[in-house]
Every structure is written in C-alpha cells, then in structure tokens.
C-alpha cells in the first residue's frame, strides 16, 4: 500500500524537523522542498511559517512559490498552513505595514487585541461542525502569536479565548489554516495532523 506523501514547503526560513518527525511517526512520507514539481506530486502541501509576514512572502516570491501555490489551490490540491503559514493564506497582513498575502482565503491578518499576544496551551473550540477538527474539540494546543487572521465567520472552523474569542483555524474547501503549532503540541497536535491529512486526502 502506498504511503501518503506530505510536501513541506521550504522557503528558507525555519527548522522543519518537528513537523517532519511527526509525519514520519504517522507513517506518512515527508519531503521538504521548494521545487514546484516535487510539491505538486504530493498528496498534501504543508506551508510552515516562522518569523514575520513580509519576510516570508518575500522569501516565497524569490523562489517562485506564490503563483505555484495559487495554481495548486485552484486545482484542488490540499494545502495546510501552520501558524504564520495560516496567516500567509490571507489576503493581506498589517504586520510591519501592509503586505499582500496569498489570498487563498478571504480576510486580513491584524494585531491581536486587546491581549497583544497569545502564548501557551489553550483550548480550541471547533465551530461550524468541521469534521476535520471535531475530534479535537476542547483539547489544548500550543499557541505563540501576536497577530490573528480575521477571516469571515463562514471560513472559521475553530476559535480560542483570551479576553475575547478569535479564530484559530480557517478552511475553504481543501485549504486549511491552523494558528497553533500542532507539531509542538505533543499527542494532541499529532492527532490533529493525522485527521487533517487523512480527511483531506481520502477521496
């Protein structure tokens, strides 16, 4: 039986060992690449992210990955964005001035107010009955961000709460974004990644 292949987009920022090892422990093959040909042959593309929005978009542009990802999204290939990777799916971000994003899911990335930042393990509330995340409703996962993807409610599939509630997972068809770090959320995160990959790739 062929194992599923997850392609992690390498745009020169960050360390992918944790996400790679999580996928391998789930018995998926995991390739880390910036080559569009490789990535288009994968069952699912994973868009990681660390650092600031403008630098990430710039790094992807340099590697010709922006139009590639938009094309793949239109073709229906599953794409999952993690943390900053989720924010990159948005139309734009206000981090360090206004920067255009991939525009794969409507909405803008704005500063997290009034709390300024969201750090630590927090519970996720799954909304809109999304089947991918429902098994993890009420579980704690690890957050580490100060901007939030303010997507319209119809694209939100999970929220979290500090002083107020805000979206922490979004979805449009086969495009999914998670604001938290499932690869740094131990067993809970691992289960989420498994449900996501299986749910998005089982025909």
């Amino acid at each position: 039986m062929n194992r599923k292949i997850v392609g992690v987009v390498d745009y020169g920022l960050g360390n992918h060992a944790s996400v790679r090892d999580t996928f391998k422990s789930l018995d998926y093959r995991c390739i880390i690449s910036s080559d569009p040909e490789f990535l288009s042959g994968c069952d699912l593309i994973l868009l990681p992210g660390v650092g600031a929005f403008p630098a990430a978009m710039s790094a992807m542009r340099d590697r010709g990955l922006i139009s590639f990802l938009c094309t793949q999204a239109r073709s229906g290939q599953p794409i999952v964005g993690l943390c900053l990777g989720m924010q990159l799916l948005a139309e734009s971000s206000l981090e360090h001035g206004l920067t255009e994003g991939l525009g794969l899911i409507p909405g803008q990335v704005i500063p997290l107010e009034p709390d300024h930042w969201h750090i630590g393990w927090n519970t996720i509330e799954v909304i809109n009955q999304d089947k991918l995340l429902l098994p993890s409703h009420g579980e704690s996962v690890y957050f580490n961000h100060s901007y939030v993807f303010a997507a319209p409610e119809e694209y939100q599939i999970a929220t979290a709460q500090l002083k107020e509630s805000f979206p922490v997972a979004v979805r449009l068809g086969n495009i999914v974004g998670l604001q938290f770090h499932p690869e740094k959320s131990q067993l809970t995160g691992r289960a989420i990644l498994k449900n996501l990959v299986d749910g998005l790739t089982d025909a």
Partner: protein, 254 residues
C-alpha cells in the same frame, strides 16, 4: 481556557547539562540533548535551555547545540537563552528550531536591540530573564556577569523596554537549586505588572507550585534541578496539583 505551564529548565555550562545551585556551584548531569529529549517524552509544557556561560565567554549563542536539539524533532515548544547579542543571532536561533528566545545581557548592554529583535520575531517570542532578589524589603535586579545590582522601583522599572518583551522570567538566583527556596514575595513586590511572569529558582514542592501559580499574573513555573531526581517528575506534579489549571499528565505508551 489558557493553562498554566510547567517549564523544564535545562542549564548548560561548557556544553554540559548541569544542576546549578545559586549559579555558583554546579553538579554534572550529562548530555543536554538527552535531558531535553527526556523532558519532551515526559510532556513538559515548554522546555527552556539556558547556556549560562556564553555571554561571559563572549561566544554568542550555542548554534551547534541548537542544531543538534532542533534535529531531535521535539514535539514540545523550546525556549533558548544564552549569548544572544543582536537580531541576526535571534533570527538564527529561531530558524534552528527554537520557538522563543530568552534575553538577559542585552537588557544591560543594548536596549534598542530588543525593539529590533521584537519587530523581527514578534513580541511573543521574546522573554526577558531578570535575576532578582529581595533585600530589606526592596527588590534588586542583578547583572550576572558583573554582579552589579540595580534597585527596581516604579521609576527604574519604567526605563526597561517592556513593550518589546512579552513574558518576564523572574529568577530567584540566590535560591536556585535549593529545595523550597523560592522567595514568594518576588512576584508580589516586582514593580512591573503589565507583563506576565514565569517564576524560577528554588521551586521544588507541590504546595509551592500551587501557591505561586495561583497568582493571576504568573503564567508558568520553571523547574530545573528538581526534575532530575525521580522518574516521571513532570507527570507527578501534574497528577498531584488539582487546584490549578494545568494540562493533564501524559505517560507515553510505545
């Protein structure tokens, strides 16, 4: 609901993981990677690795240790501190696999640098380490390289670049390593209240954890030496403490 955190602290000196006592006496523990890997398996909420001799030796961050730790593929968030001098250092530390950084010397040497780092990484990724102790009811902040101390009050505290850091690690350096030693007045007397605290230094008992984690502004405790004496040290704390909202203990099944 946001949970409080148990943070496993790994102190590294000359490449060796050590137990530290008041930052003046050290006993060997072993390989930093294996101590860290163990904390990951136990389910610590975060792991903090502090390389305490890097700034003193003017060596910069221990990138080779970070690379080895990054390659472990940990599933637990990692905080790195030790020798971070400027933005390039900070960015490289994160790119090698740390999720957040701990800064200390820069607070003394070059405060404008903190704004630059914070803009680059996001304020959530920048934690300030402040070794403190209380003398005659007043709280003093210590420069561990020079042993110089500054009295912290509302005025002196206002000069710190607190808008560019998220959490503050308050280290009771005097009592670090000493059982039940933590001076619980510290989080109550510390003059900055806008930033949440992580407390560290001499926190060894279950009732201490329950006590300090009940303080609203305290988001987590760092525990160092005391995690090395028994198997399942992290899980034991989580099992025993019921009054505080912590993640439940996990015992890995292989």
């Amino acid at each position: 609901m946001l949970k409080k955190r148990l943070i496993g602290v790994v102190t590294v000196r000359q490449g060796l993981a050590v137990q530290s006592f008041g930052y003046s006496r050290y006993l060997p523990l072993g390989s930093p990677e294996l101590v860290i890997e163990n904390l990951d398996r136990w389910g610590a909420d975060e792991i903090l690795v502090q390389c305490i001799d890097r700034s003193v030796q003017k060596l910069g961050p221990d990138f080779s240790l970070l690379k080895r730790v990054g390659d472990l593929g940990l599933s637990t968030p990692l905080i790195y501190g030790g020798g971070i001098r400027h933005t390039d250092d900070a960015v490289k530390v994160i790119s090698l696999g740390a999720d957040r950084i701990l800064i200390d010397s820069i607070l003394w040497d070059s405060q404008p640098m903190i704004e630059a780092i914070s803009r680059e990484l996001g304020v959530q990724a920048v934690i300030a380490n402040m070794p403190v102790h209380i003398k005659l009811g007043q709280i003093y902040w210590r420069n561990y390289r020079s042993s110089e101390e500054v009295l912290l009050n509302i005025n002196t505290a206002q000069q710190l670049p607190i808008e560019w850091i998220s959490e503050i690690l308050l280290t009771d350096w005097r009592h670090e390593g000493f059982s039940k030693g933590f001076d619980r007045r510290i989080p109550l007397v510390f003059p900055i209240i806008k930033n949440p605290f992580i407390l560290f230094g001499g926190l060894s008992e279950y009732d201490q954890y329950t006590d300090v984690l009940s303080i609203p502004n305290v988001v987590g405790v760092g525990i160092g030496n005391f995690l090395s004496y028994k198997e399942h040290a992290i899980q034991n704390i989580k099992d025993k403490i019921t009054a505080i909202s912590l993640r439940t203990a996990h015992y890995t099944a292989e």
